[in-house]
């Protein structure tokens, strides 16, 4: 998909995820907006995952370790045809499978996440299975930056390093905010570059909203042979809505009617640029 098409998708995805959060009355707004460009490029340009090949293991895999940004994931999976929009509109309703964290009861979801610090180990396990079988496909996982305080993340890094899993692509959604505030004030995680490098990863730092940079770095060969890949995607929490950007309260705030209309009008305006 070309950059123009991807750009339009990103705006449409932002509209949908805000709509479902607004209509269902709950959701992780800020983090969904920070990672939706990454998901857009993954699902439309990199993964090649569709309802037709989902049951096969002869395909790429994606584990969303930061499970709370599920509204972005549901939005993209809906667009890829895993379920209808009317099914998605049952989000958070009684007896719906569409809940506030990924579950395999929803078509297209790979693994049940929500508790942080699990996804990298799971992705490492899949990458190991693929390595054992000489299966050429890749495994991608998306972690939050606040999540990096979980010790189990670093346990997983040691295994990915030991088994030289260059088929593993780890993306950190580095939006600098977690529920309490600035990640560096809550519990500093920097210097991330050096941390992951010293754990044996080949690290690249990119703008996580630059669709071209995402395309370039998520496609193609491993950054370095025999090293797991780590992408620090610098992002903005609440990206795309002026009054949500970098505001910690939007971690899981739901817009009021007025805010929702304002947000949608900002996105409509953005969309017009591509007409």
């Amino acid at each position: 998909m070309n950059i123009n098409e991807l750009s339009i998708k990103s705006i449409e995805y932002r509209k949908t995820l805000l709509e479902i959060i607004y209509n269902s009355g709950a959701g992780h707004t800020g983090g969904s907006l920070s990672c939706v460009d990454i998901l857009n490029v993954l699902y439309n340009d990199v993964l090649g995952i569709s309802p037709d090949n989902f049951d096969s293991i002869e395909r790429n895999r994606y584990i969303q370790s930061k499970g709370h940004s599920v509204e972005a994931l549901y939005t993209v999976l809906c667009d890829k045809g895993f379920f209808s929009r009317s099914e998605l509109d049952t989000l958070n309703k009684f007896d719906s499978h569409f809940i506030g964290h990924p579950t395999r009861k929803v078509s297209g979801i790979e693994h049940n996440t929500g508790a942080l610090g699990h996804g990298l180990s799971v992705a490492t396990g899949i990458a190991l299975a693929y390595r054992i079988d000489a299966n050429p496909f890749k495994v991608f996982t998306l972690l939050g930056d606040g999540e990096l305080s979980e010790g189990s993340v670093w346990e997983a890094c040691t295994t990915a390093n030991k088994y030289q899993l260059d088929n593993l692509y780890v993306i950190v959604d580095r939006n600098n905010l977690q529920i309490t505030g600035d990640t560096e004030l809550v519990n500093p995680i920097e210097p991330l570059n050096q941390k992951f490098e010293s754990f044996g990863f080949s690290v690249k730092e990119i703008n996580g909203h630059d669709l071209g940079a995402l395309k370039e770095n998520l496609n193609g060969t491993p950054f370095e042979k025999d090293k797991p890949n780590l992408i620090i995607a610098n992002t903005i929490k609440g990206k795309g809505i002026s009054f949500m950007e970098n505001i910690v309260s939007w971690h899981h705030r739901v817009p009021t009617e007025k805010e929702y209309k304002l947000a949608m009008s900002e996105l409509e305006k953005e969309l017009k640029k591509y007409e």
Partner: protein
């Protein structure tokens, strides 16, 4: 039963798994610096490409198992039961049970197998914690036959499974091979004066007590409830039908394990039976070998015999 002594269940587990893995390249074992304790040194030598070592990182071990399972492998995560079912409880809950990955979690040196190493190394909580996790099956083999059969069946078992193994040699309880099926309890012998129900390594103690009682003309039923969950209510009810006395014993806290499971069924079925639950009480546990500790808490064959007689009178 012929009172012959078999091997430690851990050795049977490792031998069985090695045999199965030689036939099935899709079997992968994951260890956390635990291949020695898991008797898997030979496995590592003979099938190095089927053993993944993650180091002392139990949380990672469990979630890596989930990933290997998602990648199409039949995976056995092997780690001391104490760490596997406490430190990694969230990974078992989310990545294995909730995500419905049919991986096998093998808790080694379980219960109070580690004896004098103390409470950090004991798992007297694992039945209770795992019973409350939806979608988990829990098996605690009583002897070498059960230990081996459960591994053979686990390969085609399509649900998350936890198996618990101890490290001391055990009596052979099955004189000729009975059927073993995950989820189906076995009545090892039948008698009309009382019922012993036990699981795992305490079954042999119930059996020895039943032999002592027999010498005094008292006939007991002995049930091996090897599968704690799903609980085989049907066999349990069959075993206690028309009985007046029931004693349960387990190498586990008296809370949340076999005893309370039986109590729940008895109460809800409105069965009137004189019932005693034996296990580890809620206190700073006495220090000693597995055998000495079980004896201390009333589970020696002699103490069981005295208890049984007092309850019959």
């Amino acid at each position: 039963m012929n009172n012959t002594i078999g091997k430690p269940n851990l050795e049977i587990f490792a031998d069985t798994l090695l045999n199965e893995a030689k036939k099935n390249k899709n079997i992968i074992v994951v260890t956390s610096d635990s291949r020695g304790s898991g008797k898997l040194v030979n496995f590592g030598k003979e099938l190095p490409s089927q053993l993944i070592e993650v180091g002392i990182a139990e949380q990672n071990l469990v979630a890596v198992c989930a990933g290997l399972s998602a990648g199409g492998k039949k995976v056995f995560g092997v780690s001391p039961a104490s760490f596997l079912t406490a430190r990694s409880l969230e990974q078992i809950k989310n990545d294995i049970a909730y995500s419905n990955r049919p991986a096998v979690m093998v808790g080694i040196s379980a219960g109070i197998s580690y004896g004098q190493l103390g409470a950090t190394h004991h798992s007297i909580h694992d039945y209770a914690t795992l019973r409350t996790i939806n979608n988990m099956t829990i098996v605690s083999p009583a002897d070498n036959f059960e230990a081996s059969e459960v591994i053979k069946q686990s390969i085609n078992y399509e649900k998350p499974l936890y198996i618990r193994y101890g490290k001391k040699p055990l009596l052979n309880l099955y004189s000729k091979e009975q059927n073993f099926k995950i989820g189906k309890a076995n009545i090892l012998k039948k008698g009309s004066d009382l019922v012993f129900i036990a699981t795992g390594e305490t079954v042999q103690r119930a059996y020895l007590s039943s032999q002592l009682l027999e010498k005094e003309g008292i006939q007991s039923t002995v049930v091996s409830m090897h599968t704690l969950k799903p609980f085989d209510k049907e066999t349990f009810l069959e075993a206690i039908l028309n009985q007046k006395v029931l004693i349960s014993l387990e190498e586990h806290s008296v809370y949340g394990g076999l005893g309370e499971m039986c109590a729940s069924v008895i109460t809800q079925e409105k069965i009137n039976i004189n019932y005693k639950i034996l296990g580890i009480p809620d206190e700073y546990m006495v220090n000693g070998s597995q055998s000495d500790v079980l004896d201390h808490y009333g589970m020696s064959p002699e103490k069981l015999t005295n208890l049984a007689k007092s309850m019959i009178e």
